[in-house]
């Protein structure tokens, strides 16, 4: 019998694990355990509850609130990155599983992205990020891949709403672009509003209270559930 364990690391990322490495598509959430922060070396197999567990995929928890600190490497892109290259239109009505959305992330802009991006990585882009279609998958596909934040001087308005509503942090900053290249290390502290890199530190403005309220609830749906009194 397969048992599935949901591992939470930090507040946002969820790892779906199973006892066998050849069942990569199990995605039901079963037992939830809080794992000590020291287990950072996934996806090596590890022991839990007397069983050897394998990481099979990075899951997506749309009811988890934001990570307060994000640490990873930079993926740098230019101006006007549109939603067709972030998530191709031909998949919008047939790909419904968030994990599968992640496999197509940035497909028409950077075919390496989906296979090489690591949780905590950050996209630094030029102006008007996410222009084009309203498709929500263009935000979800980055979130399921564990992208910790996007930093751009401006966002298309619908993309910004999608970021807020799915809990993908979109930082507005014009200052950092020239100080980072793809592959550079980056750390973002959302409580302090600070971006750190090898060449310095930069502050960014806080989200408005209304927007932060939605993001902190884990996105628009958990926010709405709380508001309607369905969740405490």
């Amino acid at each position: 019998m397969e048992s599935i364990v949901t591992i939470r690391l930090g507040l946002q990322r969820v790892y779906h694990c199973c006892r066998s490495p050849d069942k990569p598509r199990l995605s039901m959430i079963g037992v939830e355990v809080q794992v000590a922060a020291s287990i950072q070396s996934l996806p090596a197999p590890f022991h839990h509850d007397g069983s050897l567990l394998y990481l099979c995929q990075i899951g997506y928890d749309d009811e988890a609130s934001m990570d307060k600190v994000v640490k990873g490497r930079v993926w740098k892109y230019g101006d006007d990155v549109n939603t067709d290259v972030i998530f191709p239109g031909k998949y919008t009505y047939t790909v419904n599983d968030p994990a599968e959305m992640g496999e197509h992330a940035m497909e028409d802009l950077d075919p390496d992205f989906a296979t090489k991006v690591q949780p905590g990585d950050v996209i630094i882009a030029g102006k008007n990020f996410g222009c084009g279609s309203s498709r929500e998958q263009a935000a979800v596909c980055l979130k399921v891949k564990g992208v910790g934040a996007v930093i751009a001087p401006s966002y298309s308005r619908i993309y910004f709403r999608n970021g807020v509503n799915t809990g993908l942090p979109l930082i507005t900053s014009k200052e950092v672009q020239e100080h980072f290249e793809s592959g550079d290390e980056i750390e973002i502290d959302f409580d302090k509003g600070v971006i750190k890199g090898a060449k310095g530190e930069w502050s960014f403005p806080a989200f408005s209270d209304f927007v932060f309220g939605i993001m902190d609830a884990g996105g628009l749906i958990p926010y709405t559930r709380k508001r309607l009194g369905i969740d405490a």
Partner: protein
């Protein structure tokens, strides 16, 4: 107190406040919340919220248009789930696969009304500003939340006024104006802002022209594209409007964030080149580029007047043997009018391929996805890499007249080389009964 813009006035009215300022966040209940083939995904998000019933089924409007009839079982099952959801929740405003593209169908059926707030889970929902509505694209989750609560939040936008002056030269159309503006101000030129298109030229626009311009407002980054409604709009809505309405206009002393004026009297036909809508060049710089496909379709330019121009250019001729011409009317009403006026006969006789009304290959689902290294001249609104379903292809955007002449030659061509007689076209369009264009005298 200083005057207010259209957006400030309508958002204040709907949020029950005396007045609002740009930057303020308000909550409103829209008159119409549209969703299309994405309604299946929206219904799953709605289920997650945990409410049994829709807040108000009558504000929801659902169309099937993005891949109709369905190209494969995945699309078919998507449609099936939507029909079940619509039936279960008593959504009366449902337009199945036999109607056409959402924005066009909503206009034809009298849902787009002046002084109303309309949302769509589709970025081109700025189109409703053609009728004087506050129309804007929202996300899938937001439509699910409207289903549950009836509410949506908006940031009150700053307003960018664009004044259009002058008379369009022959062979130059509203599409060329829209592309020219997009090229001038850029894809983020109106980011987060509402655009008001005003001036004597805008005032003369037909319904179809208004829709083409407001549709493209989102490609300028805008939240809303609005043209003050006049008798053209009111005539169109006579006997068609789904309910009573009251138009909302900006005050004369309203405060604008930016004002820009365009005199279009000497404008050349324009083409948006790969791979962004703001990569716009005059036809003289692009003419001669070989193309393997021409697509006349989409919510931007596939109405009766667009098909009329195409038919008049192609009349008695054959398209280039090196080029395919895919023609997809915006709606079944447009198709019926085009059949009755003989346009379909002319287009198909000339070598065009006609497909059923809907979005077609615009976002790469079916009915004309280009092959590797092929170039398409399209009348649609986006040319992003991979947009038409193949990242190894290129898309150019232009007017239906540019598309028609390019199909004849097999290369991107200046439409002014094959002029059409607008007096004849105008009298033909006057006979249309189902999808009137209402060209202003």
């Amino acid at each position: 107190m200083a005057g207010k813009t259209f957006s400030e006035k309508i958002l204040a009215k709907y949020s029950g406040l005396d007045s609002v300022e740009p930057g303020q966040i308000v909550e409103v209940t829209p008159d119409v919340a549209m969703s299309h083939d994405n309604t299946a995904a929206i219904s799953k998000t709605f289920a997650k919220i945990g409410v049994d019933k829709l807040f108000d089924p009558d504000i929801h409007l659902v169309t099937l248009d993005h891949c109709v009839p369905p190209a494969n079982e995945a699309f078919a099952n998507n449609h099936k789930q939507i029909r079940e959801f619509v039936k279960k929740h008593g959504i009366k405003n449902f337009y199945d696969i036999n109607h056409g593209i959402c924005h066009q169908v909503m206009a034809e059926h009298g849902h787009c009304l002046p002084g109303t707030i309309m949302t769509g889970s589709d970025s081109h929902s700025t189109t409703y500003g053609a009728f004087g509505a506050f129309g804007t694209g929202v996300t899938r989750s937001e439509t699910a939340v409207i289903m549950a609560t009836g509410k949506i939040w908006f940031r009150v936008p700053e307003t960018f006024k664009i004044i259009l002056k002058g008379t369009l030269p022959d062979g130059v159309y509203v599409k060329d104006i829209a592309l020219h503006i997009t090229g001038t101000i850029g894809a983020d030129g109106a980011l987060y802002r509402a655009i008001e298109f005003t001036g004597p030229t805008a005032d003369r626009f037909s319904i179809s022209e208004r829709m083409t311009l407001c549709n493209l407002a989102v490609e300028m980054g805008a939240k809303v594209g609005y043209i003050p409604p006049n008798e053209v709009v009111f005539d169109y809505l006579e006997g068609r409007a789904k309910k009573e309405f009251e138009a909302v206009y900006s005050d004369d002393d309203a405060k604008y964030d930016e004002v820009l004026e365009f005199d279009i009297s000497n404008l050349e036909p324009q083409v948006a080149c790969p791979h962004t809508v703001d990569n716009v060049k005059p036809i003289s710089e692009v003419a001669g580029e070989s193309i393997e496909q021409v697509f006349v379709g989409s919510c931007n330019n596939a109405r009766l007047d667009d098909l009329a121009i195409l038919a008049h250019v192609l009349d008695g001729k054959k398209i280039s043997t090196d080029t395919r011409l895919v023609v997809i009317p915006a709606s079944s009403r447009v198709m019926l009018d085009a059949m009755r006026l003989g346009y379909v006969d002319t287009i198909v006789s000339a070598g065009g391929t006609l497909a059923s009304p809907g979005c077609g290959p615009c976002m790469g689902n079916h009915l004309g996805v280009p092959g590797d290294n092929e170039k398409t001249l399209s009348t649609a609104n986006r040319n992003f890499r991979g947009r038409m379903g193949n990242r190894e292809s290129e898309v150019f955007l232009g007017s239906p007249h540019t598309a028609a002449v390019s199909a004849l030659r097999g290369v991107i061509s200046d439409p002014r080389e094959v002029p059409v007689d607008w007096d004849v076209i105008r009298s033909e369009l006057g006979q249309a009964t189902l999808s009137p264009v209402l060209v202003k005298a």
